[in-house]
């Protein structure tokens, strides 16, 4: 709804529009229990919100806002629901929230708030921040948006860069959901599903669509298909090799495959393609033992060749162990730690502990896990580590 109204009134009124939508919803909440739901509830809400914005603009009294108000008042927004314009409005809104003028760390939050309809409290929880800090960040971001003249989905060269920013923002949104860094929850499905919904909108609509968007969507779907199986009944972390593959979501896997095929239509292989391919290899293996580690390592090699990342290197090393054993993997890990200081990185310590325990160095492995434990605030991860340490120490 915010997207639809923002399109009509302009993004400079975003705050007002959000308030109006909120007011309309609260009005409905108070009224409909007694009067019953109107026939077209959504149209009622949007008309109500629209009228509130118009009232505000009229009260504001400046000529250009008055003009916008009268124009909007004359138009029936209901039509937008029928013509499927909503998604296009949302697409515009996504691009607006990921505008280069918005500070990078505010883009995900702004997108969640204005396109996803998340509350400030929910966003604060997702980003381990307090609601005052998030509210302040959003206010600043909206002020930046207000100063922007040209807010539409850009074209040509400009589009290429802007789309990359959008994809990056959605990638971060998904990852934040996929690996909640703190607290009791291991995954936040709502963030993952919102990222999927939004990237699907980008993938669907010209001019934004592009094979790399399909690749990102495929990656999300492959990962999301496994979400439910990453946690057991007691909320404990389950590693890929222990997950029940028959429980992977088949609808998402097949949609992922479809998107993965669509992603091959261009002549460019992006990082998203490579990451999606790694996820596809896992998704398509019948069981853990028959995983095509060779192919996975090739993808990681290519990713690392493009742009070195310590986290991807750690993943690559885990794959190397599957193919060539813990000794080769440990020496790769050693050369990585010489290159980058990872002594305070939980994933590094986790990998180190994992490889040492495979090699049979129980005591050293336990020490590495203990160091990782000190750096992991996520509760399921902590319990997982404690169990491993106990096992290693007990023998």
């Amino acid at each position: 709804m915010v997207s639809i109204l923002a399109r009509r009134f302009g993004y400079q009124h975003l705050e007002r529009i959000e308030d109006a939508v909120q007011d309309a919803l609260v009005a409905a909440m108070k009224k409909w229990p007694f009067t019953g739901e109107p026939e077209n509830a959504r149209a009622w809400l949007i008309e109500t919100a629209k009228n509130r914005v118009i009232d505000h603009l009229r009260r504001d009294g400046r000529s250009e806002t008055l003009e916008a108000a009268e124009e909007a008042a004359a138009e029936k927004i209901e039509d937008a629901f029928l013509s499927g314009e909503i998604e296009e409005d949302e697409l515009r809104m996504i691009f607006a929230c990921c505008h280069p003028s918005i500070p990078p760390d505010a883009r995900v939050a702004l997108t969640l708030k204005t396109v996803g309809g998340f509350s400030v409290v929910e966003i604060a929880r997702a980003f381990l921040s307090n609601k005052e800090a998030i509210a302040k960040m959003l206010t600043r971001a909206k002020a930046k948006l207000r100063d922007q003249k040209d807010i539409d989905v850009p074209s040509q060269q400009e589009l290429v860069n802007r789309r990359d920013v959008v994809l990056k923002v959605l990638y971060l949104m998904f990852n934040e959901g996929y690996a909640a860094t703190e607290g009791e929850e291991l995954v936040r499905k709502d963030l993952c599903f919102e990222a999927i919904r939004l990237v699907a909108i980008v993938a669907k609509h010209p001019p934004a669509r592009h094979p790399k968007v399909n690749a990102l969507l495929a990656l999300f779907l492959f990962q999301a298909a496994r979400l439910e199986t990453r946690i057991d009944q007691n909320g404990e972390l389950l590693l890929l090799e222990d997950q029940d593959r028959s429980q992977w979501n088949k609808v998402m896997l097949s949609e992922g495959l479809k998107q993965f095929r669509l992603s091959a239509s261009g002549d460019e292989v992006t990082d998203y393609h490579l990451e999606a391919e790694i996820a596809a290899v896992h998704a398509l293996s019948r069981d853990f033992a028959s995983t095509d580690w060779e192919r996975i390592i090739e993808c990681y090699d290519e990713l690392q060749h493009r742009q070195f990342s310590p986290v991807a290197e750690l993943n690559r090393i885990v794959a190397i162990e599957k193919l060539r054993g813990p000794h080769v993997a440990l020496s790769a890990l050693e050369s990585l730690s010489k290159r980058t200081d990872l002594s305070r990185n939980a994933i590094y310590l986790l990998t180190l502990g994992h490889l040492l325990s495979l090699k049979g160095d129980r005591r050293q492995a336990a020490t590495a896990f203990e160091a990782a434990l000190d750096l992991s605030p996520n509760q399921p991860v902590r319990r997982f580590l404690k169990r491993r340490i106990e096992l290693l120490r007990s023998a």
Partner: protein, 117 residues
Amino acid sequence: MPNYMLLLHEQPMDYSQFSPEQIEAVIGEYITWRKKIEADGKYVASDKLKDEGGRLLTGYEGGFRVTDGPYAEAKEVIGGYYTISAADYDEAVDVSKSCPHLKYGGRIELREVESLS
């Protein structure tokens, strides 16, 4: 079968911390409850009272006095009412207790409607 009136008292609340999705979920709960009592043949009528003030009439020295309000200082207002039909208070309580209003901090005053006969 007698009628009962459910007067829904509510405290003015700050809804700004609720996300649109959360509010939509609450609306859904009320609508579901309402449809259920309709389907069970218990629903008779309902009305929403407007939020803003109202008038308070008081007898005063042989005449009357009208004041705005009466809610300016009141902590609670009646947001609206339902009339339902039920065999007795037990059944009326049974119908009322599943009303989402209670879940969200509101109070329900339940009164039997006096019939003509």
